[in-house]
Amino acid sequence: MYKIAFDLAWKSLIRRKTRTLMVIMMIALSLSGLLFLQGLYDGMVSHMINTAIRSDSGEISLYAKQYRLEKTIDYHIDDPISIKTYLDRFKEINAYAIRLSGEGLVSTAHKSLGATLKGVRLEDERRFGDFDTFLSQGKFDFGPKNQEALIGFKLAQKLKVTIGSRLVFTAQDASGEINAISFRISGIVKSGNLAVDEGSVFVSMETMERFLTLPNSATQIALRIKDESYINNIQSKIQKKFNLLDVLRWDELYPLLIEMRDMMDIFNWLSYAIVFAVAALGIFGVILMSILERMREFSIMMAIGTPYKSIRYQVVSEAFIMAIIGYIIGALLGLGFLAYTASSGIDLRYYQAGLESFGLNAILYADIRYYYFLQAFSAVFSATFLSILWPLHVLKKIKPIEIIQGKIL
């Protein structure tokens, strides 16, 4: 019985090709547009989060208490090596980076600007967050004698320096003395992290320790934990062991990024809701119209014995066949857009200045997540379901005899 109904559904759809096509196109195109936007927005946000984690905080960072407020080297972590030994026990920690930073003045013969000097170990940074991929010019090393430096590109621009230029950094060391150090620039870094690009200079850890006269110290220890589920657990363990330190997750350090992510989610949800509310109208129109014009047809079918359920099944199938075909085409189109954007990206380099000043990349890459398609499916499904409720009600009210007799049309 249902097979016949299903066949009839197909045939009805094919009979009214234009109508069917219009509904399918409506669903497909709007779906692909929404998927595309969602992927793009998500891509932007996850890029920002990823950048912050890779270039700075990792999934968890350790600081001496008060350091984040005062930012002076008085508040540093003693003996990071022993902390590292403790951390090595955790298999879930994929990488760590120990950093020693000091704030001061960086100068050329013409100009000086405030900046932060960061003592790092490049190999660790590479393993930690592929820091070498941030290199935009020059080499990713501190030179043969570990005496060169990497500089954020915006800072380099403001100081009008380039590879090979010489800079002098002046700051107060651990004893309060004003100390100065010079270095040549070996590389320029473009991370998307404003703090790095506009105000940081990277030198070797050894150089920094000597400069600040703070051997075996750190201002930050950052950890990578690639599996999200372990983060909270490890955080509490470390905090318990080192209760004199601040142990913070990336979302505690960058609450804004979480907000941004939440905002994008709300926006996406709203878009889907609005678009599919309107799409439901389209489906509604077509289904209702197709029922109304086939009243006679259905009445005759019922008069010769077709169960009401079969007819209902036919109408429902018509709606869902269109919906599913629309969904498949839309999903494929959307996937196509997303796949292209995820690999080649959208080139917005025209707006580079503005984007970069807010820490966004000039080339936008989309995210693709499986739940996009689930979300899309439920949107199409719900819209279709809601749109056929009223038409089915109309169908139920059919009085076959009166229609055949011509009393109602």
């Binding site: 003045l105 013969a109 003395e177 004003i178 010079s182």
Partner: protein
């Protein structure tokens, strides 16, 4: 100002080619433990016209110096103390002493073309530069100074013209890292004070197009070497105590 003077002495050492190291050492020994008192006049010319500052300075070795402003009246009594690489300033009008933070270090000193950093960094010339004779005649020599690899100096190069007979420099040209000229210092009016020969007038001119009209001229009015200076001058108390 001790900075400028020790600078001069270092150059005299370079005149003796290969024996430069011995000479430098002799000069350093000579400088160490030295006392100097000077009264000088600094004329700063800028876009808004000319301004004259009169001051006295007391210094001991390379690391300690105390400066007091005498004129103009508005700034009279302002004192500076430099101990090693740190600098403090006392302002009588508000009766406060402040420590000059690193962010102020590259601001100009008293509006001149010298920076606080110039004032603070003294006699690190020997430590920071390698010298090479470029040209030499009987009476003049031109010497090139290139910073040593680790030297914390912003200059890419300094070229000095030296008057050999008087053992003083006549001109110093400062270059930035891209080997563009940034500023020129000229020396004149050479006089003898005891065992030392000293240019009494020094002029610093920045070469920036924007700063065309700017120059800073220092004229030594009185100089006294080797009279010991009381240690009290080189303590933070001195800032207020000797202010008037």
């Amino acid at each position: 100002m001790k900075y400028l003077l020790s600078f001069i002495f270092i150059f005299t050492s370079f005149l003796y080619g290969g024996e430069a190291d011995d000479i430098i050492k002799a000069v350093e020994d000579n400088l160490r433990g030295d006392y100097m008192y000077a009264k000088m006049r600094m004329i700063v010319t800028g876009q808004r016209g000319e301004r004259a500052i009169e001051m006295e300075s007391w210094s001991q070795g390379d690391t300690k110096s105390f400066i007091k402003i005498l004129y103009p009246k508005k700034d009279r009594g302002i004192t500076f103390l430099k101990l090693d690489t740190q600098m403090w300033q006392y302002i009588p009008k508000i009766e406060r002493t402040i420590k000059i933070p690193p962010s102020m270090m590259l601001q100009s000193w008293m509006g001149s073309d010298f920076t606080n950093d110039d004032m603070v960094k003294e006699s690190s010339m020997i430590k920071d530069y390698n010298a090479r004779v470029l040209a030499k005649t009987a009476s003049r020599a031109t010497i090139e100074l290139l910073p040593k690899a680790n030297a914390a100096v912003v200059w890419g190069k300094i070229i000095v013209d030296v008057d050999i007979s008087n053992k003083v420099p006549t001109k110093e040209i400062y270059y930035d890292d891209q080997m563009q000229k940034v500023r020129i210092m000229t020396f004149s009016n050479i006089q003898r004070h005891g065992n030392h020969t000293l240019p009494m007038v020094m002029e610093l001119k920045p070469l920036d197009i924007e700063k065309k009209k700017n120059s800073t001229k220092v004229i030594f009015e009185k100089v006294n070497y080797d009279t010991p200076i009381d240690a009290s001058y080189f303590s933070k108390n001195a800032l207020k105590r000797y202010s008037n």
